[in-house]
Amino acid sequence: MMSIASNSQPLLTMTMASAILPQLIIAFGITLALLLVAWKRSQRTIALFTFLTLFIALLANVSLQAMPATQVTQLLKVDGYSTFAFSLILISALVALRMSHSFLKAHVEVHDEYYLLLLLLVLGAGVLVASDHFASLFLGFELLSISLVGLVGYHRESNYSVESAFKYLVLSATASSFMLLGIAFIYSVTGDLSFNATIPTAIYHQQGLGLFFQLGLLLFVSGIAFKLSIAPFHFWTPDVYQGAPTPITMLMATISKVAMFVVLLKCIIAQRYLLLENFQLFLTSFAVISMLLGNVMALQQQNLKRLLAYSSIAHMGYLLIVIIVTSAQSLAFTWQSALFYLAAYTVANLSIFIIIALIQQQNTSSLYQEDISLTDLQGLFWRAPSYALLMILGLLSLAGIPLTMGFIGKFYILSQATIAHAWWLIATLIIGSAIGLAYYLPMIFKIFADTPSDTLCDTQKMNGKVKALGGDIIEQVLVYSFITFGLVFGVLPEVINQLIAS
């Protein structure tokens, strides 16, 4: 039972520092940003500065890939998996940063808090991804939640922002207190807050205090499930996704999901919670409900963001299968399938949200980018083929159709489930993806549908319209790069497998 303060080695050796270099870069970035704000208040510089910090952190993180797993103080442990997850997070942050330019231009005053909150959010996620101790988990969780509350309610004038911010605040506060209570009960029984503490297996089954352990475990998992928007605790997701501005919804859908899932997986594997059979029961019930509920509720959604919220609930259900069926000897394979699926899910969501942001840019009706409905997609393919192609790729990837990363992700999960003979989970997955097709495909058909004004020959119409869809060179580059990302990794997933396999 090693307490934090009393140990002889120096607190932070060189190897440890280099291990958590990306997180350190972002932390210094935040402080420098605060100083920058004091020195010269202009939105362009703060945006550029944030871009630089994130970019350098990404470079540092990628260079970390080859590094063996190192324990940085008792709180953090950086290994191949966390670096891959953190690079995913940094990429999504960069894309969100790019997308928020147009959104912020709509208001006159300078928005340096926006960028600060963004950096804080990324730092929180970084801490979470590398955490190895309940305290660091708690720190990362809170950093993430509080900064997200600020970002969700960023627009003062929009009528939804107060409502969604408040809903998110109250619900995330309750969830974190549930989680903390859970951690407290676990701590009270096991006596050690770090993940890889050796928990005597006897504890799992003894009455009395053991009961508190199980209660604590349930509370802890429900707190995390809230953040991952898993079925019974998903109620906040549709409203907050719709209320928040699009770049922030993109962040919520990708960064918070990736970070939370990685930390949940680390904690469950390290603490070997799966030995408890009703823990297995909780997770299976979570997975089945969220798979069915997410898909069914998304069926006739008209608002795109609400639809994507429900589809993210369903996808978290698919991901849970990876945890349920994991077994001691196939840990590496579990990590590989989980991270690949997360990568596919993130790329798909990023591509869809990029297109939603671009569409919202040009129709000024929804200044605060809340209500983007299915009819806005009408005939997008004939107006802007490249945008439509990216949207279709994203949707196909979410639906799990070959040619896209989503399919390889689903293939991973299905192979894991078949090895573990989890036939019922496979059946739910198949039914879920069948229902999923019932709302992904109509969206694609809508993209191909003829716009009512499509009388004149479509060739001239196309040239005229693309310019109108706006988006200067960087957006075009972003769109084309994501198309190539989606296709290349869809057809040749081997590239990512190397990255994960450490």
Binding site: V162, E163, K167, A173, S177, G243
Partner: protein
């Protein structure tokens, strides 16, 4: 100094937590919801302190310090939102916040 068994501490914190949770669910005024959130967090603090003392480790108290900072941050953001809600809706009734549904 009589040793208070861990069991009692945990029961106390669960009860306190339950009170806070009911406060959050039942209350109509947003201010009281924030207050009940505080109660829940303090209940967790109690549990940590109790656990820490049983295991003779400082971890419990360190966690409690962290919880306090969290509570402070949350309340700050909560009150800010409260003010904006007041300006926008002219009332603090939580049930006004239900435009987004379906």
């Amino acid at each position: 100094m009589t040793v208070i068994p861990l069991f009692h501490v945990l029961i106390l914190s669960t009860l306190l937590f339950a009170i806070g949770f009911i406060g959050v669910v039942a209350r109509k005024n947003t201010l009281f919801i924030l207050m009940s959130l505080e109660i829940m967090l303090n209940a967790v603090g109690v549990a940590f302190i109790g656990a820490g003392s049983v295991w003779q480790q400082a971890d419990g108290q360190v966690m409690f310090l962290l919880i306090l900072t969290l509570a402070a941050a949350e309340v700050a953001v909560g009150l800010a939102l409260l003010i904006r809600m007041q300006k926008k809706y002219r009332s603090l009734d939580i049930d006004l916040l239900n435009q987004m549904k379906g």
